[in-house]
Amino acid sequence: MADTAEAVRKSIRTYLFVGGVLFLGTIITVLVATVPWLDVGHHGFDTWDAVLGLAIAATKASLVAAVFMHLNHEKKPVYWIFGSGLVFVVALFALIGLAKNDPIHDPLFYGSQSTTPAPMASPTMR
């Protein structure tokens, strides 16, 4: 193991700092979702809120992975193993794109209903 007692002692401050950032990140996530004047995009939840919320979550997750899980200084095999798992997850999410942009999608196949799934967000709902 590369982590000697001395190296660990030096890292304690980093761990505390990351812990603090995680707490702060959580508070920011809640604030941007609940305080009206911090609301990005339109009023209420929309794509921009999702992007911002997930960006904060991804940052927090990266910090956990890099610092707490020591991915910032790990041996090669770990990156290979974890990376190959991630590839499949990315592929899964890519499948969603495939379903939404179906090249042979026929809107009339399911009846004449509108294919846009979120009529609630449209301004016609007044």
């Binding site: 193991m1 009023h43 939840f45 956990v64 974890f82 709902m125």
Partner: protein
């Protein structure tokens, strides 16, 4: 025997073995949770109903996030303490970690419990009413069932004159329940006609049970035994008859293939009947109820019909379906989003669709709440217009109230309404943020309608807030329950190191440190999943 590479790294990987193992496991875990999260996206994009965004209470979720992040920090500190050979510190940090896990599960249990006791009903016009069911008299007392306990569920009421059981499938506890209800209402369930049949080969029909015998499980079991014996005997007899027919046909048509003669091979049913070798099968047993009385059934157990209803065990209940309204003891949300969405899909005006809905026309409270909500939406529209102005290109206001603000009134709105203040300014106790509204405490202020009756024919779909209610709750419970199992599993492993690690610490402290690092890696992963679960389910 010494286990190799638990402390010293292997030359080829540069790592001790268990670390490779945990990362292999975590890679598979990433794919597992990744699958569920992508399922979430699929379900949300494809939902044909208004997705219940920002519907979970944020405060408990936020506290749970803090708890889990805190435990992630302490588990690192526990590992660092071992590295620095400070056993006492390790014990403290690991103790805090496990306490955090327990606290997390307590909050989760409260959250689940609130949902499992919360009723939702979708009317046939897609209005959604949420609250708590309970049958209650005018004077405020509960209606009790015949056992003397409170009726907290919707009931299907049938005035029955006859019951026919499926001999094989009848469900004994339900039979007992029928007997119990009948005896409470002073009715008797008796066998309608003599049950007769041939019980031995070559014999004459005998009476198995006489008309007028009272219903009992023993009686049903007795007939079931006769029926099953006859069924298996008859099966064997028919197979033997068929076999001999085939033999005969093969002998008469030498050289022909089986499929060429198969159409002429048939059992002579009449001859078989006359030979008295077949025994009597009794697939159903009919009983009469005298005098006809009311039976109560749980909606999930019965498929109700006007003159005849059927239980899930194929018991047929003859008799008139009585008015079986769903009675809410407390209503804590009225939601017109789905109705409005349907109206927009049909090209209708959603507002007039809401105002013409059954609920608004029939329930003064719903009408009052809707009018209050319209006032709130108008205020919000004016405020958003003032704060953000108009889009120059389209001429429309830049920001508008959401569908949720326009069409949904939840318990916090009802509190604000009864407090006489604007939306979001009603007084909510901290306990209510966790446990839901304090109905009893708010009874005096009439915040929640106590008696809210929905006729059976208006009910489109009813469920508690369980995975059955909609795909949102299905994926919510799947992901959070799987995550909860990970919390429990991780906490058990870490607790093992805490309570049984001392011996290893004394003999090989580095090995224990490595073990804790492995357990810690899993624990960080559990935290990492929650970092995504919290915003996705609680804030989006």
């Amino acid at each position: 025997m010494e286990i190799p590479y638990v402390v010293t790294p292997r030359k080829d990987t540069g790592l001790f073995n268990s670390k490779i193992a945990i990362w292999l496991f975590l890679a598979s875990e990433v794919m597992l949770f990744g699958g569920f999260f992508s399922a979430y996206v699929f379900l949300r994009l494809g939902a044909d109903y208004p997705w219940p965004e920002r519907t979970l209470p944020v405060l408990p979720g936020l506290i749970n996030t803090f708890v889990l992040i805190g435990s992630s920090v302490t588990v690192v500190f526990a590992w660092a303490s071992l590295k620095m050979r400070k056993w006492r510190h390790f014990q403290i940090y690991m103790g805090i970690t496990i306490a955090c896990a327990a606290l997390f599960m307590v909050f989760k249990a409260i959250e689940y419990n609130v949902k499992f006791h919360h009723q939702a009903v979708r009317l046939s016009d897609y209005t959604v009413v949420e609250g708590h069911l309970g049958y209650e008299k005018e004077n405020g007392e509960y209606v009790l069932d015949h056992h003397g306990s409170k009726i907290e569920e919707n009931q299907i009421l049938i005035e029955s004159s006859g019951v026919t059981f499926n001999t094989v499938r009848f469900h004994a506890p339900w039979v007992e329940e029928l007997l119990s209800q009948a005896s409470h209402r002073k009715a008797r369930i008796r066998l309608a006609t003599d049950v007769t049949g041939r019980t031995a080969e070559g014999g004459e029909a005998v009476t198995i049970a006489k008309a007028g015998e009272p219903l009992s499980i023993d009686l049903l079991e007795k007939i079931k035994e006769v029926h099953l014996k006859a069924r298996s005997h008859n099966g064997a007899v028919r197979t033997a008859a068929l076999r001999s027919e085939w033999k005969k046909a093969k002998a008469e048509n030498p050289g022909k293939k089986g499929w060429e003669i198969s159409s002429s091979v048939n059992i002579d049913a009449k001859a078989l009947e006359e030979s008295k070798t077949l025994l009597s099968e009794i697939p159903t047993i009919a009983f009469t109820v005298e005098p006809p009385v009311r039976f109560d059934f749980k909606p999930r157990d019965v498929r109700e019909g006007e003159a005849q209803s059927r239980l899930r065990d194929d018991t047929v209940i003859d008799g008139k379906l009585l008015a079986s309204p769903m009675v809410f003891h407390y209503v804590d949300a009225i939601d017109f989003r789905h109705l409005a969405m349907k109206a927009v899909e049909k090209g209708q005006d959603p507002i007039s669709a809401v105002e013409n809905s059954w609920l608004i026309k029939n329930h003064p409270f719903a009408r009052e709440a809707w009018e209050w909500n319209k006032g709130q939406v108008a205020k919000l529209e004016a405020k958003l217009l003032e704060d953000y102005g108009v889009d120059r290109k389209t001429g429309l206001p830049k920001r508008e109230p959401t569908a949720k603000e326009r069409y949904r009134m939840d318990w916090k709105d009802f509190v604000a309404m009864s407090d006489g203040v604007d939306r979001g300014q009603g007084k909510i106790a901290i306990k209510e943020e966790f446990m839901g509204p304090d109905y009893k405490g708010r009874e005096s202020s009439k915040t929640f309608p106590e008696h809210f009756s929905l006729p059976r024919e208006q009910v489109g779909f009813a469920s508690k807030f369980t995975p059955a209610w909609n795909t949102y709750y299905a994926i919510y419970f799947t992901i959070t329950a799987l995550h909860g199992l990970h919390v429990i599993g991780g906490a058990l492993v870490l607790a093992f190191y805490l309570f049984f690690g001392r011996k290893m610490y004394d003999t090989n402290p580095e090995w224990l440190a490595n073990r804790v690092e492995i357990g810690g890696l899993f624990w960080h992963f559990v935290d990492l999943v929650w970092i995504f679960v919290f915003p996705i389910f609680y804030l989006m």
